[in-house]
């Protein structure tokens, strides 16, 4: 997508979004998820999480409880909606932190001369060669057992992916003609990198980042599913699923619905990321149908 200078960026963005039905659907799904995440803590009382009602234990889905109730008699629908907010908050903060670290390291490595690139990328390689989920588990054990510690673990596991992507983009951008002319004008390297190269590579990186938010949510729920991080009274989707494991043959809904919500959440980010990538990829403009 190329933004025409005559239009403000948000108008150009909206024009491009409404170009195909696929993009429009992806965009509305994502916005819908975000609205749910914003509203649910205002609408749903936090007593849903703490109130234990043994008489209502494991009720099947009904009008009063759309998703049914769990072992403690808590309303699963409210619990799931509150969890979306918690999961998204964590995913956002992890993404911002790991993108910040990854972008800085990747950009410097991609623009700097050989030795700095070599050192930074070898460090990144070390982190990349341990399977990310296992690295996150190892760090989670080392740093502690709160949700905040879990975020540190996720950042450590996820930043190398950003560093890799940003470096690749900077490498392909740095040899273009306008960079040479900037160098000839004696613009300092720091300024070339952060005010000229970065704005030009930000869109493909944004598409990657959107998909990566989905991956972060999957990692987070996987960790809490294995028992990392939070106690039983934290509204978090992976945690709810693992709590339901003991009873899921009698009451399948306590596992089915939270997982369904979780996959919709991740799906909305992945779908939008895919749509973004199409929008920003100029090569895809002139595909012929075979």
């Amino acid at each position: 997508m190329i933004f025409p200078l005559s239009l403000p960026w948000y108008r150009a963005f909206l024009n491009s979004i409404t170009e195909t039905k696929f993009r429009l659907f992806a965009f509305s799904l994502l916005i819908g998820t975000m609205i749910v995440a914003l509203i649910s803590p205002l609408v749903i009382p936090s007593s849903v999480v703490y109130l234990v009602q043994p008489t209502k234990s494991l009720l099947p889905p009904s009008y009063a409880h759309i998703f049914g109730t769990d072992l403690y008699g808590r309303d699963l629908f409210g619990l799931c909606l509150l969890s979306i907010t918690v999961d998204l908050q964590i995913a956002y903060s992890v993404t911002i932190a790991s993108f910040g670290i990854g972008m800085f390291i990747g950009a410097v490595a991609g623009y700097a001369r050989r030795s700095a690139d070599e050192v930074l990328m070898r460090i990144t390689d070390v982190f990349l060669s341990i399977p990310a989920f296992i690295l996150a588990m190892a760090v989670a054990v080392a740093v502690g057992h709160t949700l905040f510690d879990l975020q540190i673990a996720l950042v450590v596991a996820i930043w190398p992916a950003y560093a890799r992507i940003v470096r690749g983009q900077v490498l392909s951008e740095r040899n273009k003609l306008y960079i040479d002319s900037l160098k000839l004008m004696n613009v300092p390297a720091r300024k070339i990198l952060f005010s000229h190269i970065m704005p030009n590579i930000i869109y493909p990186v944004l598409a990657f980042l959107t998909v990566q938010i989905g991956v972060t949510i999957l990692f987070l729920s996987g960790l809490t599913f294995l028992g990392f991080g939070s106690g039983p009274f934290t509204p978090e989707l992976g945690r709810i699923i693992s709590d339901g494991l003991d009873n899921f043959f009698q009451a399948p809904w306590i596992v089915l619905f939270p997982g369904f919500v979780l996959s919709i959440l991740v799906f909305s980010f992945n779908l939008f990321g895919d749509a973004l990538r199409d929008m920003f990829d100029p090569r895809l403009k002139n595909i012929r149908s075979v």
Binding site: F22, R122, I123, D125, V126, F127, L128, S129, I130, P131, A132, F133, I134, M137, A138, V139, V141, A142, V143, G144, G214, L218, S221, G222, F225, L226, G227, G238, I241, L245, F248, F249, P252, V255, L256, G259, L262, S263, V266, F267, N270, L271, D274, R283, L284, N286, I287, R288, S289, V290
Partner: protein, 344 residues
């Protein structure tokens, strides 16, 4: 000559990276202030007064860099330590668990490549039509499903199918216990599917195959979506190039075009993400093996990490990182021979 220098340099870097991996993992399990490494060596009933003695006997009172030095010295002579969480020496544990995970990942990889490739190809060749949206939807959905949840859903589904007396699939383990006792297969590779075929034990093979279907299918979903996306992007890239237009205007048939030009190029694209796919499979195996009680590396990793078993964590990460680094090395070198444009 240049080529040999490039390969030597890559091998050197690979060794350096592996060294870094041991450093990072060892620091995480021993050096972080919040972790007391002694927890792996004591039981809840051990009197606290014995702690200093236990620490001294196992070298835990030494500075971390010395502990690391001694660990590496042992590692290089083949003494990988004792994995306390499962009560086995690390080398024996790897021998037992690695074939199970390798078998699972290979089957998952085959499923993922076949279906993912088909999805990506269909999607790209029908760019913009409904079959494109459908296969894109499937591939995006498959990377959105939490592997542990879809494993549970499969278990639930086949549990209820079994309840109605219909033929069902086994839900846990690698093999039926009774078959393992009555009709065992002498291990050759440790992979049940291959061993039973080599020994000609067909009932064992069928049983192992039935056991591997659900875990492998669950594990294959994420890489399947990755492969479908990669294939779609690379096919679209090839189709947009001028030599395709030329081939079409020359009157080349659609089939020749796809088999000669398109598939070959997208296979190379899949090859480049092979290392990534392997890392994804290993990450996923932790969750999938937990859900399906598959006795492999993933389950061992989860147990040793949660019980702070340094030797186990180290053993596991060194093996998986070595494989990851090795695959990437082979792919990079293979690339030189496949793609004539790359010259070193």
């Amino acid at each position: 000559m240049q080529l040999y220098r490039y390969i030597l340099r890559r091998i050197g870097i690979a060794i350096l990276v592996l060294f870094g991996v041991t450093l990072l993992t060892f620091y995480l399990s021993r050096g972080v202030p919040g972790v007391n490494p002694i927890t792996a060596y004591v039981t809840p009933t051990t009197p606290i007064s014995l702690y200093p003695q236990i620490a001294r006997e196992n070298g835990l009172d030494l500075p971390v860099y010395l502990q690391y030095f001694f660990y590496m010295k042992d590692l290089l002579v083949g003494n990988w330590g004792y994995s306390r969480s499962i009560g086995l020496p690390v080398t024996i544990a790897i021998e037992n668990f690695f074939p199970a995970t390798l078998e699972l990942t290979i089957v998952a990889m085959i499923i993922a490549v076949v279906i993912g490739f088909a999805l990506g190809l269909v999607s790209a060749l029908n760019n913009g039509k409904w079959s494109d949206f459908l296969s894109r939807g499937i591939s995006i959905e498959s990377v959105s499903l939490p592997p542990f949840w879809i494993g549970i859903v499969f278990s639930l589904l086949f549990f209820f199918i079994g309840q109605y007396g219909l033929p069902t699939l086994p839900l846990d383990g690698r093999i039926s216990q009774t078959l393992l006792l009555q009709n065992p297969v002498q291990p050759i590779t440790g992979m049940f599917l291959i061993d039973s075929l080599l020994r000609g034990n067909i009932p064992f093979f069928v049983n192992a195959l039935l056991h591997i279907i659900l875990p492998a299918l669950t594990l294959s979903l994420f890489p399947m979506g990755l492969i479908a996306r990669t294939v779609r992007a690379s096919v679209l890239d090839v189709l947009s190039q001028d030599h395709i237009v030329f081939a079409l205007s020359k009157g080349l048939s659609r089939r020749t075009l796809i088999t000669r030009h398109v598939i070959k190029n997208s296979l190379i694209a899949v090859l480049t993400i092979l290392g990534l796919i392997f890392a994804v499979l290993l990450s996923g195996s932790v969750l999938v093996e937990t859900v399906f009680a598959w006795p492999g590396m993933g389950q061992w990793a989860a147990t040793s990490i949660t019980s702070n078993d340094t030797a186990g964590i180290m053993g596991f990460t060194i093996v998986s990182a070595s494989i990851f680094v090795f695959i990437n090395l082979v792919v990079d070198i293979a690339y030189i021979f496949i793609d004539p444009r790359i010259r070193y």
